[in-house]
Symmetry: C2
Subunit: 531 residues, 2 copies
């Protein structure tokens, strides 16, 4: 059976820029454009040249190798000629293969927001599309608020779509701009429009204000559309755009679609999906959504004891797709809900071998539950779990003992009359028979403590010389009536390994201290020290 081609149009760098708290730097845009090329989307909408200096600069050259590079902007303003419209001029100047014009398609908007006539709006579409075609660009027309426009005045909305199509647009995209359209409505309306603009020229641009952006995109494709606009990780204003990561996973892997449609995304690119999704969050310093379909840290994670045994027996019993196909992994979570199957699987993953029924496993489980009641969470802190198990097995040598530390932060006027803040730490540590005292400054109290702690560890100093603190996360956790601070610290070493430890205390310095010492202990164990 011949599959039909469905085209992916990514607007992370334009519509995604509207996300609360997101601001792309030029470097961010370059990096994300590269990731999109790697996935194999068909179009990358790089931004809105002329709207701000950064976007204009981004279009000073084509930024993609595989994907078509698209520039976004408005159709010509009423009362001007297309050659006199600065917005259109900016689009024509941009080093873009494609131009995407957004146009009003709801009569109410034309009259109230644009303050012009319905005819003038159509002329604007016509002239803009023609100008862009004459410059040799592929043209996409985003019909803004199309579904609300169609419900209010179907003839007018349709005339906007038809005008775009007849003027030479490659794609006429129906936009659910306020995200309020429901899947059954999208199905019906797209099917109607497809009688005027053929499906192979129709696209869908959905928003998630009713939690249906992905479903609306699928419904549009079912009704004949062959172009989907969305963003990585569902970025976008308000509730976000349709999540292209979810759509790629669904269209590539689900029987109901994979046999009918060709996304132009290779299986190899698909296996990069999780990595690309996480890189985007890294670049934007956003907390990844661990519950994201396909790529979330928890997307294939099992907690409950009963499920865990079944999953390990035969993953197909519980998993709808193979995690590896999207570059993700199955997880059996260490948690106080887990039974012994869970713990055994986790221990095995970390390299411990226990027979089922080994009494130590039950004791480890109890200790985990005890610590979790205090606020510890080992799910994201493998190295702390590893150290805990080693301790319970009596396999941690007495590497070092911190007898005392003192951390000070002082803000005062310096000799020049400027207000400065200084952070210092003193650490007194016993290593074997030696007692070592080290002092250090830092850019903050935790940094100062970390530097002092790792300044002189006696005979073990060589082994920890190459450690680098690469991430530091703080969360205030409400265990019971008291809030405690949960600190997660990630370290890397010169071998390229990295690991995360956790510390919990009402005192953030204390919590950091626990995580730091766990990390050092982990490294020493890893190095085989003390054996």
């Amino acid at each position: 059976m011949t599959r039909e081609r469905v085209y992916l149009y990514d607007t992370t760098l334009r519509d995604g820029a509207q996300t609360t708290g997101v601001d792309f730097s030029l470097e961010d845009k370059r990096a994300i454009a590269g990731l999109l090329d790697r996935i194999g989307v068909d179009y990358v909408e790089g931004g809105y040249p002329g709207a701000n200096p950064l976007d204009t600069a981004f279009f000073s050259e084509k930024r993609t190798t595989g994907a078509r590079f698209a520039a976004f902007g408005m159709t010509k303003r009423p009362g001007r000629s297309v050659s006199n419209d600065p917005g259109v001029a900016a689009l024509l100047e941009a080093k873009a293969d494609a131009i995407c014009f957004v146009t009003k398609s709801w009569d109410y908007h034309v009259r109230v927001a644009l303050e012009t006539t319905l005819e003038e709006n159509l002329a604007g579409i016509r002239d803009s599309v023609r100008a862009a075609r004459e410059s040799g660009r592929e043209v996409i027309v985003d019909c803004e608020h199309f579904f609300d426009g169609y419900k209010a005045n179907p003839d007018y909305a349709l005339s906007c779509a038809r005008t775009a199509y007849e003027s030479g647009a490659r794609w006429v995209v129906l936009c659910d701009t306020n995200g309020g359209t429901l899947p059954h409505e999208v199905s019906a309306i797209v099917a109607e429009v497809a009688k005027t603009v053929p499906g192979e020229r129709l696209g869908i641009h959905a928003h998630d204000d009713c939690g249906c952006a992905v479903a609306n995109s699928l419904a549009a494709v079912e009704a004949g559309a062959r172009h989907i606009q969305g963003t990585l990780n569902g970025l976008g204003e308000r509730c976000g755009n349709a999540n292209l990561v979810t759509l790629i996973g669904t269209l590539k892997l689900k029987d109901g679609y994979a046999s009918r449609f060709d996304l132009g995304v290779s299986d190899d690119a698909l296996s990069q999906l999780t990595h690309v999704s996480r890189q985007v969050d890294e670049i934007l310093n956003r907390q990844p959504n661990r519950h994201a379909p396909f790529v979330g840290a928890s997307a294939f994670a099992t907690k409950a004891g009963i499920h865990a045994s079944a999953v390990l027996k035969d993953p197909r019993t519980y998993e709808h797709v193979e995690p590896e196909s999207v570059g993700n992994a199955r997880k059996v979570l260490v948690s106080d809900q887990g039974g012994q199957s869970n713990i055994l699987a986790e221990l095995k993953r970390l390299g411990f071998t226990f027979e089922k029924g080994d009494g130590r496993v039950a004791r480890i489980l109890d200790e985990v539950k005890r610590k979790e009641a205090e606020g510890f969470a080992f799910e994201g802190a493998d190295a702390s779990f590893y150290v805990l198990v080693k301790r319970m097995l009596g396999e941690v040598p007495a590497f070092f003992q911190v007898e005392r530390f003192s951390v000070n932060v002082e803000r005062r006027f310096n000799a020049l009359g400027e207000m400065v803040t200084a952070s210092e730490a003193i650490v007194k540590v016993r290593v074997g028979d030696e007692v070592l005292i080290s002092a250090a400054e830092g850019n903050g109290p935790v940094n100062a403590l970390d530097v002092a702690l790792r300044k002189d560890l006696g005979k073990y100093q060589d082994l920890i010389q190459d450690l680098e603190l690469t991430d530091y996360k703080v969360r205030i956790y409400q265990g019971g009536s008291d809030a405690v601070t949960r600190v997660l610290i990630e370290f890397s070493d010169s071998a390229g390994d990295s690991w995360t430890t956790i510390g919990v205390s009402a005192n953030i310095i204390d919590a950091s201290f626990q995580a730091l010492t766990d990390s050092i202990t982990y490294k020493l164990l890893k190095s085989g020290a003390g054996l």
Copy 2:
């Protein structure tokens, strides 16, 4: 037109307990059951009595007033009689109005996971449902993996559903347990099943592994089902269950549904939706999803200058529903993408009046952009934005000047040979002509600094006596190449007001100090001090 009743079945306290990082205490469950009663759901599934001591204890009494209280468990195990099955016994003992049995409906699971015959499984359904009916309970039967089971062996899956129905179940719920079913498949399969089990007895239980849980629930209702299972905020294992908050908003407010279906949720209860959603996150100490449909902090937030002017002119042009109907609010975000319309709206909201074109507005906008480049984000920190504006208008009196502070955290052996951590702070502050030095201990460095700072503020002490630090959030923010710490602090006073301030620095104590002093300044301004 008579509307048909659609019933809401909440499983936050049972399926939601599978969420990574979530562990309900008894008090958590009580509180959430109360919130669910407030919203007006029809059923609250309180947990799995017999599976763990906490759930068994939770069912020692009925925990809801309006909603039916449901207990979850498995149908009787093969090879036992129903009266000899401890799982069923625990369900019958529970103080529940309704019992929800989960049963296998995929022949593969019956053979491989349960290791029994297809007939024995049906007998298990029959006997369990009858036993529960005889005890006077309403019975719900969750057909696990129904859609995969139907695709593999439609006759068997249907026989499970039919057996449940014929044995007296009030509801037969078709579960998409691994979340891999697509909306068009749900539509088709539910429509088929409705020929055997009438729609008024059919329910849907969807998971979000393809981002379609809400859409699948709606598709099932379109196909005749009248019972929806889900969780608040889409809690649940892996990618979560169907989000009941989104479904309530959609079914109550969208034309396509509000006219056809009656949820049994009053408009007044609907206006509590945002509050309930946030309370659940509070209780579980989870970061709220600001992009959540209807209730997210950003659900009605506009960033871009062009949209902002249009939205403020006529909200219907851009909003698909009224934010107030769900207890949410429109936001025009202060951001470096915003133009002057944004800032003017924000200033107006905080009580400042400026004429359009007032030069000070442009200067305020510049200062906001400058600080945002440093890592500040005023979106969640109104009080800091207020103080910033007041400063730029020269309207902040010289209340107090901190000339020096010193914060110390020390961990050492005490006289009893125990390791203890002590935190102390000294603050030297000038208030008018007085110089005051205060010292304080705390459970951590920030607490110590806060107590010392507010211990003696001279003539202003009375005005800050009633302040209470109610929330403290830390985020490591990657501004450029350097990471900085962003601290958000919330204070409340005896008048019941609360406000949030922000501080940014590489040094967490410094960042906290900025937020603390901003907060005190805000309170003094609010009190009219110094005028």
